[in-house]
């Protein structure tokens, strides 16, 4: 049943996002072509505009990854379509898991499209060398691909964290009998602020345990590479912790039942 639900969820979310993906890639290719074909001012301007359009589409992809995931959740679990969703012979946790897995897949796809567009638009040996040099200068030593991968994983987890937090806020907000949408938004902001405060507290605790991390908080100097690693692993652990917390909060609350309008 999970597979079947997932299929329908993905279909719905990707129906619009696939247009953004296609346009982002097409504009990236167009921009690159224009910049490669001719070095004249006209082509430089046109190429720049086309790459700008591609960037706009990528921003659209990111925004839609959040919005379509949340909209699908609200429509399917609390609005008219919920009359079908909740009468399917499926557990509530399966409905929830399908929505979450679809959001994870869409986030990964969005990430791949972003990387692909950046690659199409800007890849060259010269640009790669410049990036490597910039990283070396910024971090004060030989920066490895590991940092880029860790940063990528952190960004991915941040998106998942925000989506899961959104689901939990929607579920808790819809527990009440009135102003459900407004309450979901308020809960969402409240929960987000609370977790940010918690992360800061955790960071200070980590700072007490490791003076290098504390220097990062108080000093304006560029951190050493090992501190960057500490922080990246630390944020990775924090995101995982919050994702797990909000996942279970949302799932358990949903399992207790719904009150659809």
């Amino acid at each position: 049943m999970l597979k079947k639900l997932l299929k329908y969820d993905l279909k719905w979310v990707l129906k619009v996002l696939s247009i953004f993906y296609a346009l982002a890639i097409i504009f990236a290719m167009g921009g690159r072509l224009m910049l490669e074909v001719d070095n004249s001012l006209l082509f430089k301007v046109l190429g720049g505009i086309t790459l700008g359009l591609s960037a706009g589409m990528l921003i659209g992809c990111i925004i839609n990854t959040f919005l379509r995931s949340w909209t699908r959740f609200v429509k399917n679990v609390y609005k008219d379509e919920s009359y079908l969703t909740h009468t399917l012979p499926v557990l509530k946790k399966t409905i929830y898991n399908a929505k979450l897995i679809s959001a994870i897949i869409v986030t990964l796809l969005t990430g791949i499209v972003i990387i692909l567009c950046l690659f199409i638009a800007y890849y060259s040996e010269n640009n790669m060398m410049q990036l490597k040099n910039w990283l070396e200068i910024s971090l004060g030593s030989a920066a490895s691909i590991k940092i880029i991968i860790l940063t990528g994983i952190n960004l991915f987890l941040e998106v998942i964290y925000i989506i899961v937090l959104g689901y939990a806020a929607i579920i808790i907000g819809h527990k009440s009998n009135g102003r459900k949408f407004l309450k979901s938004v308020v809960y969402g902001f409240g929960m987000y602020s609370l977790t940010q405060v918690c992360s800061l507290i955790f960071l200070f605790i980590a700072g007490w345990l490791n003076s290098d991390i504390m220097k990062l908080i108080y000093s304006a100097n560029m951190p050493q590479l090992n501190v960057v690693y500490y922080v990246l692993y630390f944020s990775l652990a924090i995101y995982l912790l919050f994702i797990i917390f909000y996942y279970f909060l949302g799932k358990k609350t949903l399992e207790k039942g719904v009150n659809v309008e």
Binding site: E81, P89, G257, N259
Partner: protein, 231 residues
């Protein structure tokens, strides 16, 4: 064992009591009319049975089990609103029902759609409200369920459509199954009812065999309803 049983079922919205201590038992092979004025609690009761609302008190049992996957497999529910994804085509929704409900009879659904001359490729959002309601009814009645729950299937439709709806219900429900029809348009369904449940202000005020009630009151169900609910 009862097909459906509610025990001291209640639903409150903050301080408003929508349903209070509802105790009903539905046996197999019965057509039951859930009758009450608008806002009497009919839809709340139906939504509780279909897991769309969480009870404030009491419980719902279907074949002795609490509401869950097993109950949803044997209940076919028609809500009082349009609930299908408007972007779907008719063929998409047929596929969806076929994928999720083991008891969905696609051939029967296709035959009923054909009788209505409804194109499978038409988008639900482009259909009239009446046609959407008929499509939903076809989907619900194409399941070989043990219990059909139809919430206001006759509400807001013309007499000819009412006849179509009643005919579709009566000629398509599975033999031996039960049907609960919620309505306030009693005259239209009176002749088909085996049992009646009167609900008012969230409380069950009468639950009786239709024939016995007619005999006892020496009046039609419609008349009994009018007397009981006189403003």
């Amino acid at each position: 064992m009862e097909l459906l049983e509610t025990r001291n079922l209640g639903k409150m919205y903050d301080k408003f009591v929508a349903l209070k201590d509802v105790n009903i038992k539905i046996q197999p092979n019965k057509i039951v009319g859930l009758l009450g004025k608008n806002g009497s609690g009919k839809t709340t009761l139906i939504k509780l049975v279909n897991d769309l609302l969480t009870p404030s008190s009491g419980e719902v049992l279907v074949k002795g089990e609490k509401i869950g996957i097993n109950s949803k497999k044997i209940i076919s529910y028609l809500p009082e609103r349009a609930y299908l994804d408007k972007s779907w085509k008719v063929k998409d929704v047929l596929k969806f029902f076929w994928e999720f409900y083991e008891d969905f009879d696609q051939d029967k659904a296709l035959k009923l759609l054909n009788d209505l001359q409804l194109d499978e490729d038409i988008q639900i959002g482009k259909m009239s409200k009446g046609m959407q309601e008929k499509l939903q009814l076809i989907l619900v009645m194409s399941r070989r369920a043990d219990l059909y729950i139809l919430d206001e299937p006759l509400g807001g439709v013309d007499p000819a459509t009412r006849d179509y709806i009643l005919d579709t219900i009566l000629s398509n429900f599975k033999e031996g199954s039960s049907v609960i029809i919620s309505t306030h348009l009693i005259a239209d369904i009176e002749r088909v009812l085996d049992e009646v449940i009167f609900i008012d202000k969230g409380e069950i005020i009468l639950c009786e065999d239709a024939d016995k009630l007619r005999k006892k009151e020496n009046a039609s169900i419609d008349e009994v309803f009018r007397r009981k609910f006189k403003c």
